[in-house]
Symmetry: C2
Subunit: 269 residues, 2 copies
């Protein structure tokens, strides 16, 4: 008997091969951002397929953020610089759908934003510091403007920090997970009793993180960021989940947090 193992064959549709060819050219460097693809009619001649097939392939590539085609453009579809948009969509789908719990989302967010704070402390530029400072100012000013504005400024701070980390994958993943996690609790959050007191406390906490980043104290920044996030979501977690995530933050952190001054100004539970 032969050692060859056969595998079930699946029909490869015509439009898929067109997509493959374009992606291959993109991967090999034959096609770079800003360049143009041939027009649909030229493609249909070169690839020896019908116009519908070419169009289906172009729609798929367009949905992946690879190309963009406009009606009437004689130059043909333009090759785009690959951005984080598709990653955002697919990660969001995976995070929202299925049965991903808030606890699992928080795990992911903690392990992203902790190191992000550390890297931001190490690598932050003056522009980064200014952006974070501006976000904190916006947070302080929007305490009286309502919860939605405050949440927006909060997102701006986290994103500025992630940008300062210099790691694009961390930034995109953190952005998505943050949004999904917020969506899970945003409706319950509006019924909070004393929102202003809560917001004031959160401004102070973010200022502490910012101060650690400014002083380039990465370990402190990471620890503060993780414990802040965890405490923020704690009310919506079960006791077991709180315990697991607490051990996670504790375990992934240095012991610095124990000897650090009580920068939060809050009672330690």
């Amino acid at each position: 008997m032969s050692g060859i193992s056969f595998e079930p064959v699946q029909p490869v549709r015509a439009y898929e091969r067109v997509v493959e060819q374009v992606e291959l050219a993109l991967l090999r460097g034959d096609l770079k951002a800003g360049e143009r693809l041939p027009s649909e009619r030229d493609l249909m001649k070169q690839l020896a397929v019908s116009r519908s097939t070419v169009r289906e392939a172009l729609r798929v590539l367009e949905s992946h953020g690879v190309v963009r085609s406009r009606p009437g453009d004689p130059n043909g579809p333009v090759v785009l610089a690959l951005g984080p948009a598709p990653l955002r969509k697919s990660l969001q789908r995976l995070a929202t759908g299925d049965g991903v719990s808030l606890s699992e989302l928080l795990q992911f967010r903690l392990l992203l934003e902790g190191p992000a704070a550390f890297l931001a402390a190490e690598l932050r530029s003056d522009r980064d510091l200014a952006a974070m400072q501006a976000a904190i100012s916006a947070m302080r000013q929007s305490v009286d403007k309502g919860l939605d504005e405050f949440a927006g400024a909060d997102v701006d701070f986290h994103d500025a920090m992630a940008t300062a980390s210099g790691n694009r994958m961390v930034r995109v993943c953190a952005e998505v997970v943050r949004g999904v996690a917020l969506n899970l609790i945003t409706d319950k959050m509006k019924e909070h009793q004393e929102p202003k007191e809560l917001m004031d406390r959160w401004v102070a906490r973010h200022e502490a993180v910012f101060e650690a980043i400014r002083r380039q104290d990465g370990r402190l920044a990471s620890n503060l960021m993780q414990s802040d996030i965890l405490e923020f979501y704690a009310p919506w977690l079960s006791n077991e989940d709180q315990a697991v995530l607490g051990r996670f933050v504790e375990g992934m952190s240095t012991t610095l947090i124990d000897s650090a001054p009580d920068v939060h100004g809050n009672e330690v539970i």
Copy 2:
């Protein structure tokens, strides 16, 4: 003058509206995995568009892993359970393309696999332990079988560990980043002088990580995993990148590593 601000309008193509409707139904729970969409002809009647438009929308949804349609199926396209495949593709595109450096990839991998090791130590089941054990055995047996088999077994170990962590997003992201990072150095790696000695050492290191996970020592497992990964890629990093990542691992780790016994059995640099 009015306070209304108008914004430039962009043409929304017909197929996009179709995709939106399907995705909305999926998000609202009206459509669940395993259910079927109407046939193309039914959709074209319900949505009042041509069949081409319906088909373009279906191709986009199919490329996103949302549905799958087979020729001749009278029941219509089937709604799939959303899996990690699209996330894998988009993250891979972002990681390979653009100008993502090996250093940036490693940052991401370190902050994923460190916590993954920690969580695996906390949550590992007997099945997980068996899978990791099997992967390590395969590594040891494939030392003489060549580098490709060894690399495969190594991937199996990391994936088993990520599976044990219980966090699917961490698992998928780690898998992709691991693959991309390996691709960047896999050609240079084959010219190594003494591969067997290297492989022996790596088996020992993975055994140490496994032992920490078995003993549920999450901090040690995380520290070992991160320093192992860093040392593995060190030869292909510039001195500056080595310094940055070294401080990263050091900063994100506990001080346990300093007092831990020399489990690796190698000289400390």
